[in-house]
Amino acid sequence: MLQIRNYVKAASLDEAYELNQKKSNVIIGGMHWLKMSRKNVDTAIDLSGLGLNFIRETDDSFEIGAMTSLRQLETHEALNKYSCFAVRDAVKDIVGVQFRNTATIGGSIFGRYGFSDVLTVFMAMDSYVKLYKGGIAPLREYALRKADRDIVESIIVNKKPLKISYMAQRHARTDFPILTCAVSNLEGRWCAVLGARPLKAVFIEDKENLLGSKNTVTEEDTKKFGEYACGQTTYGSDLRGSADYRKQIAAVLIKRAALSAGKE
């Protein structure tokens, strides 16, 4: 059971950062995953008073504050219009509305969890992580880093020309996914992102140019891309599915998502 000795609602990012340098302290996001741990936390650092709950749209980007809830992502009209509703599709089956009202994008991205729907969909867009000390890092690169003591301030998504579709396989609605998949065409370049393998999401480029550079695709091409892309990463086994099963599911999800993203 999670134990916390002190609670501090940080008055500034500087205070939060200083507190977070101590290994026994922890930043709390929605606290759903953290609560399932048996950690002994000295000080829980709450960022909810720092104005990090926002989605700001400019002509060429969206900036999403770390404390923005998954429900806000799900219901944000402009973000979903830009992402062909892939952002909504990625979060809509995460437990329930009550859960998504408090789970945060910052918590999901910082955690780089092996089951994350959120990491998967944002990696398929031109996304960046704004860190308090570490500057701005591409999300695809940040996903590979080990956890450190910096603070995720916001996620930035550049509004490059995008076609995208998100699909996941679950045993039951609201359960953890067996596999997550986003396929996108970003500025004419196709890619697939596979998560919940059950390892954290990986980015797979269409290096063979199987889907071409056009926005529309044929079913035959998507099948080839699915077969190619599913072989570009590794899979693991857990109680939800074996590695072999995941690989087979991957080929199908990639094909379907590519077909959906590439429809007229």
């Binding site: 329930g96 509305v97 609201t174």
Partner: protein, 156 residues
Amino acid sequence: MKLNFLLNRKNVSAEIEADSLLIDVLRNLGCYSVKRGCESSNCGLCTVFLNDMPVLSCSVLAARAEGQRVTTLEGLQGEAEDFGAFIADQGAEQCGFCNPGFMMNAIAMFRENPDPSDEEILSYLSGNLCRCSGYEGQLRGIRAYLDFKKSQKEGV
């Protein structure tokens, strides 16, 4: 540490620990409608409103409620009675343990989307688990309640 917040429109205070959960504070203050089911953020039994937004009180640090507005089913008796009768009419529940969390989230849905489709209802309430009577009766009850509200509005 001392916690001050608005509970069902009344100012209350409670002595809490840094890791006290909102569910425990609310039950200690007499709100027994708030139930502990799974304690893993999955079942929806502990649903309360935090500033009118449904949240899982088993996963919210009580300290985060400082100065905020918390509503439990005890504070929504009017709305709950109205709607609860339609659920009972359908025999939609057996043990009733999931009922308070279900009622809270259904009320949140009615406020957010007064005219939901069946798919929207199932989607909004997917985080409220019922282990004995299933969801068909709940859906029928919600539909009957919404139809009644609609007919009232249209003066039929």
